[in-house]
Amino acid sequence: MTAVSARRRHPALLVVEHHYRRHKRAWSSIVATGIIGPVLTFIALGFGLGSQIDDTSSLGTEDYLTFVGPGVMAGTAIVQGGMDSLWRTYGMLKWDGTYKTVAFTPSSPAEIAGGHLIFIGLRVAVSSTLYLLVLLLAIGWTGPLALLSPFVAGLTASAMAALIAGYTSRAESEAGFSVLARLVVTPLFVFSGTFVSVETLPVLLGWFIKLTPGYHGIELTRGLVNDSLSLGGGLGHLVVLLAWVGVGAVATSAGFRKTLST
């Protein structure tokens, strides 16, 4: 008995393991969306669009490449985290019965939600590490802090996933998802400081963006990659990011509880 319980893992980690095993079969398409996609955006906008940019004074970086490179890493985390919480999460709760089945095991809905959010964070952290390699090849070694940026990307993805899953896990149907994808996730990707400084946005929009987890994820990632962060500033971004992960995790757990107990 003791031997068995010593080997037994936390229920949330079992959910993580479930996702890992499921994803192993589809690794190539995950590589495609998680790495090739952002690399493509980086090359197209960093080199292509970057070649057209004359005035880099508002960016706060040396050139457009070093601005947009880290921006795309964290921006992709916004998209991956947000999109994961739409059809895929809803499907696991309502369509394919995965989480209904898991709910019959000793795992509680909160643990299932926790494992779910940890996995998306890990997945994005892994794909961001590979993206970081490409980025550093293009812009050169910037310092050891850059190595922390994939974790920030993972946190950003978890925060976005948690906030959106807080809605999807309660949704009655999938009718609103394409609207959420196009009118919430895409705008957050484009306007959170990925391609241009948030300071250039209209004032009200800028204020709103500064409340969102994606903005703090992007600023922190960019600061780490370019080694341009003050300790206080960096910790500030991290605290906001963690707070959003917490708020989202509570909302998602409650949503999972509601859906899985009926």
Binding site: A32, L40, G48, S58, T186, T200
Partner: protein, 256 residues
Amino acid sequence: MITPTAAIRSVVERNLVFYRHRKFMFAAGFFEPMIWLFGIGIGVGELVGGVDVNGETVEYGMFVAPGLIAVSAMNGAAFESTYNFYYKLRYSKLFDSMVVTPLRLREIVIGELSFAVLRSSAYATGFLVLAAALGFIESWWGLFIIPTTLLIGTSVAALGVWSTTFMRNWHDFDYLGLMLQFLFMCSATFFPIDVFPGWAQAIVRATPLYHGVAVCRELALGSISTSTVAHIGYMIGITMVFGWLANRRLDKWLLS
């Protein structure tokens, strides 16, 4: 029996009825390129002095807006001829229900693709009005952007349905999404492609969207030349080739 025209019209009508109750879902596809227009065209545009088009320097917004009209045409047609087409065939089994009515397979496909083109042109026309209101369309030639988007939509629908016949599962659509992203970002939409090496330019020039973007831009700026005609000719060629290829594969694939 019903005439082929009536059959095709009834398939288009089914789609119209479907979206009548999902207006917001339909409209969302129009707003997405708009977000890119504001984010990149206007946002990043402030950092760009001007872009060179056929030897003439144009303001960045005027460079990007016509390109995004072409993109919105591509998106509308691509969505209907790929994801939705596959969903109706394999998941909702809509086509299975349709073939037991007097509709013939050929009419169903043509009807679905006609709706794809209509959807694409609806987005593009809406986007054209927005771009004109923002002052990004300089010439009355810009009105010809509407028929151009019909051609872009048709070429993308042909290419889209052809590639859908190769899809084995939803994961394969991730690669399709990557292709669409490549076309969206690299078809001279946001920057002239001469910043890329020759081989990369050759790849871009082979795709229909590059030519669609070029025609929309030349019409918007009113700088029509023989190159405009060449771009249009290339798109017609691509449409015919992929329409033929798709036609050959579809019967076998639909009945499998």
